[in-house]
Amino acid sequence: MSEQFKPNIVAFLCNWCTYAGADLAGTSRIQYPANVKIIRVMCSGRVNPLYVVNALQQGADGVLISGCHPGDCHYMEGNFYARRRLKLLKELLEFTGVDPRRFNMSWVSASEGHKWKEVVEKAVEDAIAAGPFDQFRRRQIGW
């Protein structure tokens, strides 16, 4: 079953590093799975932890957040905030019974097209291992 399962992964990428890195993967024609769909934000620090929960509620099987390497943030410290908030969220998700493999965080710079491919592949692999997700799904209310 897991062979057919194609997880749906929502990714939040910072504009300056990982989004640019993903663009570089494109210009270098590096091939990776099509499961990851990207939302561009200016900084990984912009990602409200609730977005992750929301994505899981809305049908994502996994969430990926990626920004500049710690210390290299375009906005000086945004990724530090992201790292702290999202570490906490990851533990909280685990506490609520969500497989922690559904949530990945990484640091990919604008020059790391290859690393982006690896990050995507890992996120997809992890989400496949965790299986389809419906714990958080809002009930379909039919009125």
């Binding site: 091939q31 099509a34 200016m42 620090g45 809305q58 210390g71 945004g78 809002r138």
Partner: protein
Amino acid sequence: MTEKPKLGVYICHCGINIAATVDVEAVTEFAQSLPNVVVARNYSYMCSDPGQLLIKDDIQESGLNRVVVASCSPRMHEPTFRKALQEAGLNPYYLEMANIREQDSWVHQDREEATAKAKELVAAAVAKVRLLEPLTPREVDAEPAALIIGAGIAGIQAALDIGDAGFKVYLVEQSPSVGGRMAQLDKTFPTLDCSACILTPKMVDVANHPNIELLAYSEVEEVSGFVGNFDVKVRKKARYVDVSKCTGCGDCAEACRVAGRFPNEFEEGMGKRGAIYLPFPQAVPAKYTIDPERCLFLTRGRCGKSPKCVDACQPGAIDFEQKDEIVTFKVGAIIVATGFDVFDAAKKPEYGYTEFPNVITGLEMERLVSASGPTGGEILVDNGEEQIVPKEIAFIQCVGSRDQSVGNEYCSRVCCMYTAKQAHLIKDKIPDAKVKVYYIDVRAFGKGFEEFYDRVRREGIRYVRGNPSEIFKRGNKLIVKVEDTLTATPLEDEFDLVVLAVGLEPRADDRKTIDLLRLSQSPDRFLMEAHPKLRPVDTASDGIFLAGCCQGPKDIPDTVAQAKGAAASALIPLARGKVSIDAQVAGVIEDTCRGCGFCVSICPYTAIELVEINRMGHMVEVARVNEALCKGCGSCSAGCLSNSIQPKSFRDRQILPQIAALGGIK
């Protein structure tokens, strides 16, 4: 917000770049079915004139008020399409782009999957664009001055251009003299101009220019602010010499107790200097500097009865009390021209650079053939036993370039030609010398390069195709072990001197510059330009430009061309006198803000402050954003307890629909 959204969705084929993998017709059809979409079209090149006209016509004829363009990365063409919207009378921020090229068609091969992904990305963009708000970029005054970091040929040229245009330039150089690497070179390829003869006049110009303030022996410590308004803090290191009194006579250097004891950096360690020194005779400013790590008085507190330099200096310029000085100023634009390091040949132990005195680098060879060099231009080497004039000389190409084993995959672009030039100079000085060049490929790509390479070969320089595996000693000769790959012959050739054509590397202290200015690096570790083809001198940060080898290996003409390009780009905000500030900044919803100040403590730019307002008769504190300081990162928003502070165009209510669209639950 009162107007009902009327969307136009435009899907680009990008020739076949997108259309080959994504079924654009299917995506168009899908877009048509999305809520509020009035028009959905596809076109071969949306960014072209007719493509943009398509959007403009629809805005005017069908009354569109929101536009989605599904094409390349917004990092590429967002400004293009924003402008198109503006020209059609629509607010430029009513645009959202779906990246279906870099992040879809170019990275996937399965047409079905790529098409499905494109549909989702378009749906997400449609979901967001409906909720975007009109924004107006603000204009602020730009400081009519520029900072240039590094005074090699790139920094000098950029400074002269900006200075000549009538704007103030602060030229900061960390070493005691301007001139950089070019000052170390003897002749320049392929014209054989004397490097000093073409550079020194420019060095003097830069020091005497009424608009250029030269800050030599100084380092930039802090840069804050944004395009048009950078605040810069520079540390002028203590020279322990009063530059207003120093006449550059050199009596102090001769008198110095430790004169001639230390390797001279300018001579690549082959010449010697004392603790008080002028890096080279043509140094600008021609002022002496005391090396605080070498000076007896500064390191041990005493130097005989009294320091000899003090006694020797007639104008009384020596000042051991001098302290570092901090200078602050404002500039509108910054040019980074920090240059390069040469590859450390010790990282290739098989060539015995540290072992044999007659294995030298290309830059050492430059100093050796230079009339102003340590030997006065005579080519003399130590073969381990005696000083000799070498008769058999080898050059090895690509040392530290095109070599993954040392982490440098790139070609350094200058080594082939400087080797050819040095081979020619050797033939000139030692006519009976036998010179061989071991190469992988000869890259003579520039103007006049191939002709020069031909000329050198006709002069009797032998080119052998092969990458030497080892250098060792036999008797008083060096043996180069190599396979001639054209004839498949293993060779062991004897030489008196081996010159390693070392490549160019990013500076070891680049990290400091990167942290200072928030720059990015390319995979080769050189500083990264905003776009490899179309914005080769810009960086991702507005108002900061790159010139010269800090961006990648270059020869002198390319460096000068890039410096002139960077100067012209830096002049845009200076000459206009104004810069537009991005409108995508944070804003506070004062009705729900509880004034906790959490955002104030988060903001890296101190752009938020608490102010008192009257809320229905009660004085309460709320957060307020200083839009000139805010950069729109949105960190404050993710930390806000009541979702009251929101970055425009990246509000919760604009991102959440995107998430919903990608999540796929209706």
